[in-house]
């Protein structure tokens, strides 16, 4: 199955069937920092993914969106 990854954006081929959490483990990715999306739908870690599925693994960590504080230490409050 085709797995789309970000940062940098790329696509890798992984053999199915496989549980979402095993796919993450295989790619050395932490569950808490990623979402697994099958087609257009979010799936849980125990979801079985099959050959032919379109999978996206989306990182959820952001450290640089302009959210109004400086992203360098010391991490001052917005004031």
């Amino acid at each position: 199955m085709q797995v789309r990854l970000s940062h940098p954006s790329r696509t890798v081929e992984v053999k199915g069937p496989k549980k979402a959490k095993d796919l993450l483990r295989e790619l050395n990715l932490v569950v808490e920092a990623h979402l697994v999306i099958k087609g257009d739908d979010l799936v849980t870690e125990d979801e079985m993914l099959y050959e032919g599925d379109q999978i996206e693994i989306r990182p959820v960590i952001s450290g640089g969106s302009p959210r109004f504080t400086s992203h360098v230490p010391p991490f001052t409050s917005p004031q």
Binding site: V30, L42, T44, G63, G64, S65, V72
Partner: protein, 312 residues
């Protein structure tokens, strides 16, 4: 996995709450958590005029969406930093969200473009005045949000800081023993003096992963790409460490940050002591009249420098 509440198929598991939810129940959970945050920290009332700081990322757009759905009057401000395609793309996502989701709720989007005022994007500006890009960026964003909030008479300013942001920031400040910053790390900062807007973080109970899931489930089109200046930042490193711990022991992040808040609240009525301290040292900038500890505020100083060295 099945939904803890309604037993249909779950779309997300939440180990830190020992729960899993379907889309409907998950949206309910997110809205509840934000409503709880607003109430428990006395952030604002039903009639308040709120200004949301939006970046085009998942957190701030989700925040705007949630506040509107909870029935609040929330407008937003976007600051275009002029960082190449990153700014172009995030700008487009924000405008699209404003037109399709916010406008039907009667909400407005304000836009400030750094290039228009300073004659250059944030990177060039920082080079010109010999300061790191991120600190220049911080000064500009803080200044512009406060300016718009005060000028357009918003009661409160809301930012999309989530549990991960706050836990990572706390970790950074504790590792470096930046004690003086700890007392300003609460989710609700009062308007300490006239000219300073009240600031709140209604997402402090929600993890970054939950907000990304909310955006995906509700088809909020946000910018997944990072600001190029953030690559390898300390903030990201701290978040990665915390997420590794969280995966092993669910609940680590909330225990760390909420535990800190609880300790702070028992220590002293921070709100009053903090604003008293601020009041003692702050007075209006002689150039723009926003509050500052110096005679001329750091924003005005920065702009003045940029103008003297800028090639015309």
């Amino acid at each position: 996995m099945t939904c803890t509440k309604c037993k249909t198929k779950a779309v997300i598991g939440l180990p830190r709450h020992n729960a899993a939810f379907c889309k409907g129940c998950f949206n309910g959970f997110i809205h509840d958590q934000v409503a709880r945050a607003i109430k428990s920290e006395w952030m604002f009332g039903k009639e308040a005029k709120i200004l949301v700081a939006v970046s085009g990322g998942k957190d701030s757009l989700a925040l705007w969406d949630i506040l509107l759905k909870l029935g609040y009057k929330a407008d937003a401000l976007y600051v275009n930093l002029g960082i190449g395609t990153y700014s172009e793309e995030s700008h487009a996502k924000v405008t699209q969200f404003a037109e399709t989701v916010a406008a039907p709720h009667g909400a407005t989007l304000h836009i400030h473009t750094v290039e228009q005022e300073a004659g250059a994007g944030i990177k060039e500006l920082a080079q010109l005045i010999h300061r790191p890009t991120c600190s220049t960026c911080g000064t500009i964003k803080r200044y512009q949000f406060n300016r718009v909030a005060i000028e357009q008479q918003y009661d409160v300013m809301a930012t999309g800081h989530n549990l991960d942001d706050e836990a990572a920031r706390l970790l950074g400040n504790v590792l470096h023993w930046q004690e003086e910053y700890l007392e300003k790390q609460g989710p609700s900062l009062p308007a300490s003096v006239a000219g300073f807007s009240k600031k709140v973080k209604p997402l402090f109970r929600l993890a970054e992963r939950e907000l990304a899931a909310y955006a995906v489930l509700n088809r909020i089109d946000y910018i997944v790409e990072e600001c190029p200046m953030a690559k390898g930042s300390k903030m990201i490193q701290y978040k990665e460490v915390l997420n590794r711990l969280e995966t092993e022991s669910p609940g680590t992040k909330q225990t760390f940050y909420w535990g800190f808040l609880e300790k702070q609240s028992r220590k002293q009525p921070t709100a009053t002591t903090m604003s008293e301290k601020d009041r003692a040292v702050l007075h209006p900038c002689t150039s723009c009249s926003q509050p500052t500890t110096a005679e001329v505020c750091s924003y005005c100083k920065m702009m003045a420098r940029a103008k003297t060295v800028a090639p015309h």
